[in-house]
Amino acid sequence: MRQDDLYINKIDWITILIYSLLVIIGWFNIYAAVYDGQETKSIFDFSINSGKQLVWIGTAVLLITVIMVADYRLFENLSIILYGIFVLILLLTPFIGKEINGQRAWFEIGAFRLQPAEFAKFATALTLAKYLERPSVDLSQFRYQWRAIGIIALPVALIMLQPDTGTAMVYSAFFVMLYREGLPQRYFIFALSFVTVSLLALGIENNLYLVGGVIAFMVILILLGKKNWQRISFFALMGAIIIAYSYSLDFVVSKLPTHQQNRIMVLFNPDLDPLGVGWNVTQSKIAIGSGGFLGKGYLEGTQTKFDFVPEQHTDFIFCTLGEEFGWVGSLIIIILFMSLLIRLIILSERQKTRFARVYGYCVVSLLLFHFSINIAMTIGLFPVVGIPLPFFSYGGSSLWSFTILLFIFIKLDSHRIQMLDRMN
């Protein structure tokens, strides 16, 4: 038996190493978030979150074992069934879920609480991969485009019923995968302009500046190319649409629920209401910003220790890191995440089957979205969205779902040669 043939050598240990580092660092940070310097409990104490997280980590290791010993074909075969089950569960969640903060997003099974929307992500990813694997599917054609988007849109619509806007938004990450799989670039250019215009329209107090800017931009575009009537009328129409949109945006925003409106307003004006709406972001920025270059030291962060930042062990876990380990600590974590993402892109590219590659890119998409949006929101670059930092944030649903998501791909990657054989 050649050494290459050992299954253990086919597993991508680099990814597993980064995963383990993130989980362990996250666990220490969860302890720092609950630590208050007076009532000193052990990091292993099961009455506090760090102890509970250890249970989640332990069970995640069990899940990993199950995934790694299972038949790799199982995931492909079960994808549609899993998707169907989760659609059914999501359909039921608004009715039988436990109401927390006005949302019915959680199932309570005994002492455990699970968030179906978290787990629906990997089922959706598997189903997308399964669908795109069909040789006939070509994302440059409209009929395949809308079917692929339909697979994403169904759970999104159901999650919106709970309503859990943050988790629903996460599903938009799949467009990163669709981009890789050939969805035409113009969609992204359009989306990018749309976001840019939206941000400018919301960020610039006086819309007249925006109007001036758009007109100037269009005039430049017209002057740069051929000056035929077609082009001129096209850019004039585009300009008019953008201006009309920017004016309608204020109206659209005013129709959003108040807490979402506030989150958007705070992004552009953090000092709007530092004790009310702006509290989370203000305190989060203070905690991170006070960390300085090297941080205050482990368990020395006054802001996180004394509960100035709400949700600091879950969605705002990055505050603890930023405060206690400073910019250098943040740099290390961001490099770890970037390495993981780049590693996963490389792994996806080396897949022999489209199924595994699409699934790999789905993992990349979801992790990238969570990682960037979560950190961006803690430092005031993005409105507050209640989504966790993968592997870091406290909570079983989050850790389990990301572990399952990632390790299914590691499993698929370890069988990439066999998968090709099967295809043939």
Partner: protein, 600 residues
């Protein structure tokens, strides 16, 4: 085309990472405002107020000390009371006030302590402390207030109170905070830097709800407060208390000075008040009452009230005349009452007789000689030059200018010069006949009782004085007092001129103040009666004793007491006896003084 997309995505990932790192760098490294905001959030500075310095009298009797008072604090979250009526009775608080204070505490914070009952006395505290355990959420915080065992020397000592806006503004060193206590008058104010000590600070960490989370950095940054320095005053507390008793029911001042040092032995402003009124919880209320009082007990008469000195000024006139050679002991004038009123005495008189008998016409004529020296044929001009020369000589006696006592608010009085009369009458439109009342210490001449006492010290010292002061030692060290109080000031009159003046003052009592005479101690003194257009004349007396070795120089000024020989001279004489002998044997005289009431 699809081949480039993985690289686009990798670039995208790197760009996102970089964007996050740049923003993190901006808030973590480039901008330190978040660090300061974090400290404001979680670190609470608790000021440790120092123990204020004590004040002793010249014999080391305690004048001012710190009395512990107790504030009953409440943490609304933990506080509960079943029987409100019983609680109110026990803690001696009215129900309405309790409810009002409790609501205020609740409004301030649900979890942080605030005061429920302020400044519980020692006795009340002893009574309630055993019951405190029955009421959760209550605890006692100890502070201290100033206390005055003899209830005496209120105006000299001054009082402390919360710092006001203008004092805060002047505090360029930024030592004080809103709500700090500071000396507002008297010694408390003047020696504030010594008495206050140095505040300490403890740094505590608090959580988002303001709950104490222990000391910051194990207390490494904490500083202990440094207690204030004790000071010793020049005041003789026995004499002070005795003098205040004599002045009860009168309006005026008594200032006694040790001539050889300028140390103020007693500093009495009547009517006065009990200094304990302005310490403690009733400060605001009592201050209001005292401030509105028509007798102005807060008015520090010895340094703020200015009066015409009256006849005591004749001694200054004599000395200037002698020094300038205009008068000799043998200069004789007729008591010409057509010039100015006088009383019955032999006439003509020489200088000795003029002092002894307080002869007004003598000084009217002598002053003309001093003013009109015929330096100019223009009588107006001549008067102007002469007056200004005279003024300069008078001011050397510490008149018309602040003596620089260690208290705030001292008035300088006024010695008029040509400037003043030019302003009143116009230049060249006044001459000697306009200003002659200055000759006998009347007219525009204004002097504080402190300056009068200082004059007495000058006469006792034969021509010099030390600026009168209330500080004897700082931190037990007499050399630490301000330099100016150790500096002798010469009045520019040769010592030998004082011999005759002292003799005349010794005789003067037989003429104008026989009651003040003591059998065994020779008092040299001079009475005065300052005319008062509003009512009875003011009674003035300056003296020093024993004449041959002066230990005490004194000025007594009693408003509306009529002729100076009566109230003022008797009071001064009793004070001298008290100081030199320790007790007063002349009980008849004492009763006479005590019986005198000169207030409406």
């Amino acid at each position: 085309m699809n081949d480039s997309r993985p690289f686009v995505l990798i670039t995208f990932v790197v760009l996102i990472g970089l964007a996050l790192l740049v923003k993190l760098f901006m808030i973590q490294v480039a901008d330190d405002s978040f660090l300061r905001r974090a400290e404001r959030n979680a670190i609470q500075r608790i000021v440790d107020h120092p123990y204020r310095g004590l004040i002793y009298d010249r014999n080391n009797s305690l004048m001012v000390f710190n009395n512990p008072v107790f504030d009953l604090m409440v943490i609304p979250k933990e506080f509960s009371v079943k029987d409100t009526a019983q609680f109110c009775e026990l803690f001696g608080i009215e129900k309405e006030l309790l409810i009002e204070n409790y609501n205020a505490a609740k409004k301030y914070s649900w979890v942080k302590p605030s005061s429920l009952i302020k400044q519980i006395s020692n006795e009340d505290f002893a009574r309630i402390q055993d019951y405190l355990i029955d009421y959760p959420g209550l605890f006692v915080m100890t502070r201290s207030v100033r206390a005055y065992p003899q209830s005496s020397a209120a105006n000299a000592l001054g009082y402390i109170g919360e710092i006001n806006a203008s004092q805060l503004e002047r505090d360029t060193a930024k030592y004080y905070r809103q709500g700090d206590y500071i000396g507002h008058s008297g010694l408390e104010s003047f020696y504030e830097p010594q008495l206050r000590g140095r505040k300490g600070a403890k740094y505590k960490m608090v959580n988002v709800r303001g709950v104490d989370k222990g000391s910051f950095k194990n207390g490494d940054l904490d500083t202990a407060s440094i207690a204030g320095t004790n000071i010793q005053s020049t005041i003789d507390l026995d004499l002070q208390v005795y003098g205040e008793m004599l002045m009860a029911g009168k309006r005026g001042s008594v200032v006694a000075i040790e001539p050889k040092s300028g140390e103020i032995l007693s500093f009495i402003s009547a009517p006065s008040y009990d200094p304990n009124l302005l310490a403690g919880s009733k400060f605001g209320e009592n201050y209001g009452i005292l401030n509105r009082d028509v007798d102005k007990p807060l008015f520090i008469r010895p340094i703020m009230a200015t009066y015409p000195p009256g006849s005591i000024f004749k001694i200054v006139q004599s000395l200037i005349g002698l020094q300038e050679g205009i008068l000799t002991p043998n200069t004789t004038y007729v008591c010409n009452r057509s010039l100015v009123a006088c009383h019955n005495h032999p006439s003509p008189v020489n200088l000795f007789g003029a002092i002894r008998n307080s002869c007004n016409p003598y000084y009217h004529q002598a002053f003309r000689q001093m003013i009109n020296r015929e330096v100019s044929t223009n009588t107006y001009k001549d008067t102007q030059v002469g007056l200004d020369q005279w003024r300069e000589a008078v001011m050397k006696f510490g008149l018309g200018t602040r003596l620089g006592i260690d208290m705030n608010g001292e008035k300088g009085g006024d010695v008029p010069g040509s400037k003043l009369y030019n302003r009143i009458y116009g230049e060249g439109r006044w001459k000697y006949s306009t200003i002659y009342s200055l000759s006998i210490g009347q007219g525009e001449l204004l002097v504080t009782p402190l300056q009068m006492a200082n004059l007495s010290a000058i006469f006792a010292n034969k021509g010099y004085y030390y600026p009168p002061h209330l500080i004897k030692a700082i931190d037990g060290d007499t050399s630490k007092i301000p330099e100016k109080y150790k500096t002798k000031v010469d009045v520019g009159v040769d010592a030998h001129h004082f011999d005759m003046v002292q003799d005349a003052m010794g005789e003067a009592l037989y003429g104008t103040a026989a009651r003040a005479i003591m059998k065994d101690i020779v008092i040299a003194g001079k009475t005065g009666t300052a005319q008062n257009s509003q009512g009875e004349d003011h009674s003035v007396f300056i003296a020093f004793a024993p004449k041959d070795d002066p230990k005490i120089a004194i000025a007594v000024y009693v408003e509306n007491a009529g002729w100076g020989g009566r109230a003022a001279a008797s009071t001064a004489s009793l004070m001298i006896e008290k100081y030199l002998k320790g007790t007063v044997e002349r009980t008849a005289l004492e009763e006479y003084v005590l019986a005198g009431k000169f207030m409406d």
